[in-house]
């Protein structure tokens, strides 16, 4: 389990751990019984089989218990998911555009970058648009992923909890250089971010070619 760096990493990891523990327990149980029966009732030792046609109580038992377990899993998954979808009203908005095979990020004042810079502990809403084919923005450390699809405006959001630099990958196959559609999200302290933002915006206003505002 690798450490998460966003507010909902805990909910995702918790659900994962919950299902993992149940799964391992079930797998061990199934495998153990299989091996145990194969040894204990091996034809060499156990020549005469006993015909047991079934047992209703057992069938009910192993229908009801899995049902309860999967419903619990479902609820746990939904609980974490709600957090991923409920974007705070005051979130800072960045528009993400995907195109073969690069990302670009447009800030509210029109500033465009190819690396995502965000302040720590601040909700950031990403509006996702695609200029050509399907892509998917994937930030493993934040447990965030949402497809970027032409003719649709999907969204996702996150709130980073740790300062640092994290990978952004494209998770939806998009052709030749799909595997190289990587960039970074840089999480900075509030002050550092403001400073960066002011400088970068000033540079933009000075007229960097690709960052002209319309």
């Amino acid at each position: 389990m690798f450490s998460g760096a966003s507010t909902f990493a805990d909910a995702v990891d918790g659900a994962f751990l919950f299902i993992l523990v149940i799964s391992v327990a079930l797998l061990v149980l199934i495998t153990f019984l299989m091996i145990y029966f194969v040894i204990k009732y091996n034809r060499k030792r156990h020549k005469k089989a006993v015909n047991i046609e079934g047992s209703l109580p057992l069938e009910i038992l192993w229908t009801v218990i899995p049902t309860i377990l999967v419903l619990a899993m479902f609820w746990y998954g939904w609980y974490g998911y709600k957090k991923i979808r409920d974007v705070p009203e005051d979130a800072m908005v960045v528009q993400v555009s995907g195109q073969m095979w690069q990302w670009s990020f447009t800030y509210e004042n029109g500033l465009v970058t190819d690396t995502l810079y965000v302040p720590v502990d601040t909700p950031v809403r990403l509006n996702l648009i695609s200029l050509d084919v399907n892509h998917s923005i994937f930030i493993p450390a934040f447990r965030v992923k949402e497809d970027v699809i032409p003719n649709r405006t999907n969204f996702t959001w996150f709130q980073a909890t740790n300062v640092g630099s994290y990978d952004i990958a494209c998770a939806e196959y998009c052709g030749l250089l799909h595997a190289y559609m990587y960039t970074k999200v840089v999480v900075m302290e509030e002050e550092d971010y403001s400073q960066w933002f002011v400088t970068a915006s000033a540079e933009m206003d000075a007229g960097e070619p690709e960052e002209i505002e319309s």
Binding site: S23, Y41, V70, F74, W78, G80, Y81, A179, Y180
Partner: protein, 553 residues
Amino acid sequence: MANGTLYMPETEPNYLDYRGRFKGILGWILSTDHKRIGLLYLYSMGLFLTVGIFFGFMMRLELIAPGKVIIEPQTYNSFFTLHGIIMIFLFIIPGLPAVFGNFFLPILIGAKDVAFPRINLLSWWLFAIGGGLAITSVFLPGGPADTGWTFYVPYSIRSTTNVLPAAFAAFILGFSSILTGINFVTTIHRLRAPGMDWFKMPLFIWSLYATAWIQVLATPIIGITLLLVAVERLFGIGLFDPALGGDPVLFQHLFWIYSHPAVYIMILPAMGVISEIIPVFARRTIFGYSFIAFSSLAIAFFGSLVWAHHMFTAGMSDTGRFVFSLLTFLVAIPSAIKVFNWIATLYKGSIQLAPPMLYALGFIFLFSIGGLTGLMQGALSINIHIHDTSFIVGHFHYVMFGGTGFGIFAALHYWLPKMYGRMYNEKRAKVGFWVLITGFNLLYFPMLVMGWLGMPRRYYDYLPEFHVYHFISTIGSWILITGLLIMAVNLILGVRRGAKATDNPWGGETLEWRIQTPPTHENFHEIPVITGGPYEYKINENGQEEKKYEEVT
């Protein structure tokens, strides 16, 4: 079941020697005998499987280290596309129904053939043509398709590669699958031997019945969807293309309306095979017959309602995601019921760990891992993180290869002596199994781990932190292929030179073990009258072993 043998010894030639209207190869490719058609599928599938393995092997080799190792990105993208198309449409979907369903469905219900023998032959021809087209598209100008087997728009509309032949191939193969489904449903309704009511049918038949319904009711959707992609490419008609206002997500809906149930077309018959094998080698009746039978129908039904869990990150509405996640979890229940009943069947049996049984138990182990990792993806929050990562790749190989693949291998080891009248080397078969399962886990388990760590799928290259997992995985692929080779060589040697198999080498109780080995052209001299259930083991009560094969003189 009926007592005694059901043929007149030495009066009729077996189906392999039988001389119909045509001789030689024509006697095969124009034969309407369900057994010969089953073997036609077996051979053609073996061929396609080899090609599919080649592509998989090359991909794994490329991924042994970061950066370019042997092939270019474009080649790699084509390879995973072809690997997917071939393995899914040409190997796993037809695998059990078309080979073993064709061969044993009529025999197991006491019939002489399927309901529509000529349509059955047509299915194989369509299969061969579709497969041929898929393979040919590789060599046509433009290069092999590079869209992934999912053909997602708009990439599949924009790609300049041979998407058209690949989509047409899948369309034709879909037709082949539909015709098989129609044939099986009608056969099961109409041609059961007297006395074989629904609850005296072997469980393999139940699984084939459920499968056939999915084939009939879901396959047309993929047919029309891929046809529309073709039409869009050919005539520029606006249907899915976002440039013309279309919605790419709608394509994904339609694609998965078929392709998710298709997963159950793949796995259900394998579950049926396991339900046949376990009672035979535990020498006792199956535990909870009707629960296993009905869980097949339940899986077929619920399985048709969960397609959109392939699209949890595609931007569906929250309601949509809620509904599909909930339904997805419900599918787990009938699958769990099956596993528990199989385990319970081992209890107080008299277990013989012959190769088919070994493969069946291997199936349960690997399928359980596949199923349990499926639960993780059903949970929405986890799905968001692991969607489109190698976790998914690992998961579906556990289900499709560890499940269906091992089901096919189990069926091969179980039924091949009946089909060819010869026995393979059992010791070598077991060695093959252990090599195979070791390689399998080395190959696919690392994928689960690195998927959780954030390794996306369909990647030609990767970050250095994933190197160790990819390296282990590639080593695993070599061991896996060694295991496959041991198995294949052993089976082929067995078929060609093995000791003669008796009529009932495993001591089974279902009808196929009551007829001649190999079966006669007509299967039964006289249609049997069925009196008991399929797994009533009485012969073992004196504790004696069945004679497996006669020494070759």
